[in-house]
């Protein structure tokens, strides 16, 4: 058995090394650098100061950016949950042919393997002032002049988020629902449950691991995003990461790091809170 144990450690060594050098050490260094001083032209100066944090937290812009990010997160979470839940429910319980269900599931997941940036750009010819929707509305006479808030607005940002991230909800919820024993639903119906009662009292509680996983994905993706907001709002809105981006432009690494630490703490707090609700590891490994 001893050689077996050695083999186990050998097998995880590559994973451990990658995680050590590209996750653990970098995150530790971000934390350390966030206490450094920034000096023009010199750059990083080793120190132990809370100045970066004080500057960050006393700046009203920071609070505005975080507020805007949390607003986006809540809205996108609500939309992707409703969409993801019903899409998964449709595929698992309504589509009767398993092959068709798998095929339709793949149709939902294929965009995940394509470029996010390209998918964002593809909204331009649809939402722009001369885009498809505006042209259609103008020609049918519904509006007199093009609607300008379709692109480069909060609306466009939310459309892009929903477009990019809904499948992060669909996949885990689909997995959770596919494991539900259909006999449970039959039992509920036999016991006199209505169709809505079955969804509310049986399907929803049994999919909660999937919902939790999906929520963690959506929350972290939206909170950590900078690029969707930048492209889709045309620079009109910001996100928590915009602050980091600005500091980096001025090579102010300490303040960028402090900002990153704050963001990381918030994201990890939300993720742990969600993981507290369900034991995700047990679900994943089983």
């Amino acid at each position: 058995m001893k050689s077996n144990r050695l083999l186990t450690y050998l097998q995880v060594t590559p994973l451990f090394l990658v995680l050590l050098f590209f996750v653990i050490v970098p995150l530790a260094l971000v934390l350390i650098v966030s206490f450094f001083r920034y000096q023009m032209l010199v750059g990083l100066v080793p120190d132990f100061t809370f100045k970066n944090y004080a500057e960050l937290l006393s700046n009203p812009t920071t609070w505005k950016l975080y507020f805007s990010t949390i607003k986006f997160t809540v809205i996108v979470l609500a939309i992707t949950f409703v969409l993801g839940f019903w899409v998964a429910y449709f595929l698992v319980f309504h589509v009767r042919n398993l092959l068709i269900a798998i095929g339709l599931f793949l149709v939902c997941t294929v965009p995940f393997w394509t470029s996010n940036i390209i998918r964002m750009i593809s909204w331009r010819p649809v939402l722009g002032t001369e885009g498809l929707i505006n042209t259609a509305l103008l020609e049918s006479g519904i509006v007199g002049e093009p609607i300008s808030w379709l692109l480069f607005s909060d609306f466009a940002v939310i459309v892009a988020y929903v477009h990019l991230f809904t499948l992060f909800m669909i996949v885990p919820i689909f997995n959770a629902m596919a494991r539900i024993d259909k006999a449970l639903l039959e039992a509920a119906v036999d016991a006199g449950a209505t169709r809505w009662g079955v969804v509310w009292n049986v399907v929803l509680p049994l999919s909660k691991t999937g919902i939790a996983l999906g929520a963690v994905f959506v929350v972290t993706l939206v909170m950590g995003d900078f690029f969707v907001v930048a492209v889709m709002s045309g620079g009109l809105s910001g996100s928590a990461t915009s602050g980091i981006f600005n500091d980096l432009q001025f090579l102010n690494y300490p303040r960028a790091a402090a900002n990153a630490v704050v963001l990381l703490i918030i994201v990890l707090l939300i993720a742990t809170a969600i993981f507290r609700l369900v034991d995700v590891r047990k679900e994943l490994v089983r």
Binding site: P14, V18, L29, L83, W113, S115, I117, R124, T166, R195
Partner: protein, 276 residues
């Protein structure tokens, strides 16, 4: 009252079908519009109407135009994605097997991998850049970029391996040992064939996630851009359908990779079901 999966289809089936169809349209519609517009005629613009069909914009992409170094970006993104793919498969398959046994630090390693999935890409990007600075290594796409991509693809690879290996009962291997197979023979003739479709799935994630990765690439690839970064700079300064042409080309590459992966998994499953 009956279940949606039995008897006559309830009205909810039709409502949900319509919703699903609209969702798929929402998912794919804009992409296909972009594909069509990338064949815009030479005088055409970024929106409809089409002014003839041409390959002008594909030509402009790789020709002497102000579209930046698209060819160079391709020549880095493709090898990088292939390297990430191979490493992701090797590392997550071996680690996946280790996780079937209990070992000291397995929980820590698992949660670090999950954390790597959750950490905002830009935060990790800063961390890796700072680490490279401290070590005195310049940021290069084939080193710091590669590591940054692995931090994103490995957690996915690991989770897929967990799902696959969860279904691989240890009794298969025990049976092989009992019949006198060596460890290598067991791996070669029992384990690999069962795990193989999962390995293709891991490869698909490794290739496509690296090929399209932006936030983690941004600070870590150094002075030479990978494709998503090139596209990002193009969104601000290229205002011709060449941008859509690039979108069509990269999407085509992604679709080929997805088609190859899903096709080969389906082929293997089909052959297996015929054999039994």
């Amino acid at each position: 009252m009956s279940l949606p999966s039995q008897g006559r289809r309830p009205w909810t089936f039709y409502v949900l079908s319509v919703m699903f169809t609209l969702f798929v349209l929402f998912l794919y519609g804009p992409m296909f519009i972009m594909f069509i517009l990338s064949f815009q005629g030479p005088t055409g613009g970024l929106v409809f109407p089409m002014r003839g069909f041409s390959l002008t914009w594909f030509d402009a992409l790789f020709g002497q135009a102000r579209t930046g170094d698209v060819g160079g970006a391709f020549s880095r993104s493709l090898p990088l994605a292939l390297m990430v793919m191979v490493l992701t498969v090797l590392i997550s398959v071996t680690a996946g097997f280790a996780f079937r046994r209990r070992f000291v630090g397995s929980g820590f390693l698992f949660y670090t991998a999950v954390a790597s999935l959750i950490v905002p890409g830009l935060v990790l990007s800063i961390g890796i850049l700072v680490t490279a600075r401290f070590l005195g290594i310049p940021a290069r796409w084939w080193f710091t970029g590669l590591g940054a991509h692995l931090s994103w693809t490995l957690p996915f690879g690991l989770l897929i391996m967990f799902a696959i290996l969860g279904r691989l009962s240890p009794s298969y291997e025990e049976a092989a040992y009992d019949m006198g197979a060596t460890r290598w023979q067991t791996v070669r003739h029992v384990v690999i064939p069962i795990v193989f479709p999962g390995m293709i799935a891991v490869a698909l994630f490794g290739f496509t996630l690296s090929y399209d990765e932006f936030p983690r690439s941004w600070l870590t690839v150094g002075s030479l851009n990978t494709l998503p970064i090139e596209i990002w700079t193009m969104t601000t300064n290229v205002t011709s359908p060449a941008l859509y042409a690039l979108g069509t080309v990269t999407s085509a590459i992604s679709f080929v990779a997805i088609g190859l992966a899903i096709g080969s998994i389906a082929y293997i499953q089909h052959r297996r079901s015929k054999r039994t």
